[in-house]
């Protein structure tokens, strides 16, 4: 009843191609962004910021990045952790060696460095596909991890191999409290997500999806495989690199290469599979799901009043986490984004049966 587009007549192609063609969607997204910027800081506490909101937002950016490559362009990648590390170490080195650089530029630089590395490791995709490409990107993951652990220049010869960032400042304001970090990360996320949405609904997005769905047919309509695949690697790695830098600077503060190991790659891959391949919304849903589920499972015994040792809880958490993911994928292989789409479809008719 509430969610329907009856009476919303589009009179131009511009209106029909708009980012949210249905008014209710538009208002919902505006309201959500306004809520996140204005209302959340009124009630959120330290825990909510550092354990929930900030990780979800940063990993959403990484998930959007991987979704562009895997979900939209169909190139399976297991190297996200490595590309995040490239972003984090690039940002660290720029901030270390040119301390006056604006923090936004630092993060953009992180993105660009990850982009270059991404293009380099994307080159095999011109020859190999599917699982074989996944193995090639896995090699990238291991190589990058190794490089950041062994090449001392990247870590500024820190004896422990761990690096730490100093004070982070933007236009004279120090970004130190969780609330400030949250607002900063939120702003980055909104801008990057809108950019990604614009790309995937335009020419680039169609090019990537064409390559994903039928590469031979894409080539006969004049899409160059080289151009399509490498641009997907470039944009994807840029996003993942920025996410890596944000993760290092604003979530961890100090880190070692292990923070971006292959588990991180799998975590981001799970996010897009559970959230929905080929969906920007799905990247957010997937990141929220993967971050929130363990927290939820961890807290559950306390809420239910069951006394359990922390060790038992964390074992059960692991088992349930795996089981829920498997069950979910059986029930809805297309991810949370598809569930959302089905819900919207039903809402259009509700409360009438048809």
């Amino acid at each position: 009843m509430l969610y329907r587009e009856v009476g919303q007549f589009k009179t131009s192609y511009g209106a029909d191609q708009a980012i949210f063609p249905i008014a209710q969607d538009r208002w919902f997204v505006f309201a959500l962004i306004a809520f996140a910027f204005l209302a959340v800081p009124l009630f959120a506490g330290q825990y909510l910021y550092t354990e929930v909101l900030i990780p979800v937002l940063i990993l959403s950016i990484a998930a959007i990045g991987l979704n562009i490559l895997t979900g939209y362009c169909g190139q399976l990648s297991l190297g996200s952790g490595g590309f995040m590390a490239v972003g984090a170490y690039a940002a660290y080195n720029l901030a270390l060696r040119l301390p006056q650089t604006n923090i936004i530029l630092v993060f953009l630089f992180a993105g660009f460095m990850a982009m270059l590395v991404g293009i380099l490791f994307g080159l095999p995709s011109l020859r190999i596909k599917g699982f074989y490409l996944a193995v090639a990107t896995l090699a990238a993951q291991f190589f990058l991890e190794w490089a950041f652990a062994r090449v001392k220049w990247f870590t500024n010869y820190a004896p422990s191999g761990s690096v730490a960032v100093g004070r982070i400042e933007l236009f004279g304001i120090t970004i130190d409290t969780p609330a400030k970090i949250y607002i900063f990360v939120l702003a980055m996320t909104v801008v990057l997500a809108l950019g990604a949405k614009n790309l995937v609904r335009g020419r680039m997005g169609r090019m990537w999806m064409a390559m994903r769905d039928m590469d031979i047919a894409a080539e006969i309509i004049g899409i160059r495989p080289l151009h399509a695949k490498l641009s997907a690697f470039a944009v994807s790695s840029f996003y993942i690199g920025v996410a890596g830098a944000l993760w290092g600077f604003l979530r961890l503060g100090s880190w070692e290469p292990l923070a971006f190991d292959v588990n991180r790659s799998f975590q981001v891959l799970f996010m897009i599979i559970i959230g929905g391949l080929g969906s920007i919304l799905g990247s957010f849903l997937g990141a929220s799901f993967i971050v929130l589920l363990p927290i939820f499972l961890n807290q559950l015994p306390t809420w239910l009043g069951i006394a359990m040792s922390t060790a038992t809880i964390s074992h059960i958490e692991f088992m349930l986490f795996g089981a829920i993911i498997v069950l979910f994928l059986i029930a809805e292989p297309h991810g949370l984004a598809r569930l959302w789409a089905i819900a919207k479809e039903k809402l259009r008719l509700w409360p009438f049966p048809y």
């Binding site: 192609y13 029909d16 335009g202 169609r206 999806m209 039928m214 047919a217 004049g222």
Partner: protein, 266 residues
């Protein structure tokens, strides 16, 4: 890019000339020494029994296969070995025997993808979705809507093509090829697996495309009724060898063709 720009060809002149082309896969000869031409504005049918080398011939024209011998002249210019996207750039579009649409995209997006070559705006404009990129997107959408009207698929434009019935999928695929505004359109069995009504519709669309857009068409088809009615000239292949070439009536009464189809011993 090695796009064959070539010169403008007047109607009735050879748009594409294939001379003594041979293609072999290992010891299997797919095409042996075939020569023919396609004149601007005509509908050219390529027929022959299964395995005659028809699709291989299209693949050669299209840049999928590189012939071992022979010469191809397109728009008056001899062509070197090229990739399919270069052929597309030169103005060759094609549909496939098994529908090769982008299954996860809507019909509209599929046809819009066909305009990829006509779109020039840079990455950053697209990122912002304003200014030139937006104007371009809307202008291309207008062109695509013309094609959608032409093929009468307005009602399915926002539906994922994977969910469409076969006949409509074939039509969307034709739309995607038309969106390229090709000089030469290659149709590989456009009516395979269709019922009579769908065949009649598709035949009309092919004639309309030829008449309205002036597109030169080369088509492979097994339905002899359709071939004889639609085409201006027919090329007949058998075992990779050209056995006849001429107007439908000539081909129909050609003894070699009748033998090939009835399976006379070779």
């Amino acid at each position: 890019m090695r796009a064959p720009s070539g010169r403008d060809i007047a109607a009735g002149e050879a748009l594409l000339a294939v001379e003594n082309v041979s293609l072999a896969f290992g010891g299997v000869k797919a095409i042996s020494d075939v020569s023919f031409d396609i004149r601007r504005g005509e509908i050219r049918a390529i027929i022959g029994p299964n395995g005659a080398g028809k699709t291989s011939l299209l693949n050669v024209i299209n840049g999928f296969y590189q012939p071992q011998r022979g010469r191809i002249t397109f728009k008056g210019r001899p062509r070197s070995a090229m990739r399919p996207y270069e052929a597309a750039l030169g103005g060759i579009a094609r549909t496939f025997q098994n529908v090769a649409l982008f299954k996860g995209m809507t019909a509209l997006d599929n046809i819009m993808a066909g305009r990829a070559l006509k779109m020039r705006r840079g990455f950053f404009w697209q990122l912002l979705w304003i200014g030139p990129a937006l104007a371009e997107e809307i202008e291309q959408r207008r062109r695509v809507e013309e094609i959608i009207d032409f093929l009468k698929i307005q009602h399915v434009r926002k539906i994922q093509v994977g969910k469409l019935p076969y006949g409509l999928q074939k039509r969307v695929e034709l739309g995607r090829a038309l969106a390229m505004e090709p000089d030469l359109l290659l149709l590989d069995e456009p009516m395979a697996g269709m019922n009579l009504e769908e065949k009649e519709d598709m035949s009309r669309f092919i004639l309309d495309v030829n008449a309205y857009y002036g597109t030169t068409i080369a088509l492979i088809e097994h339905d002899m009724g359709v071939v004889m009615d639609l085409s201006d000239r027919v090329l007949v292949l058998d075992h990779g060898v050209k056995i006849a070439d001429g107007v439908p009536a000539e081909v129909q009464s050609n003894q070699a063709v009748i033998d090939a189809y009835l399976g006379l011993s070779h």
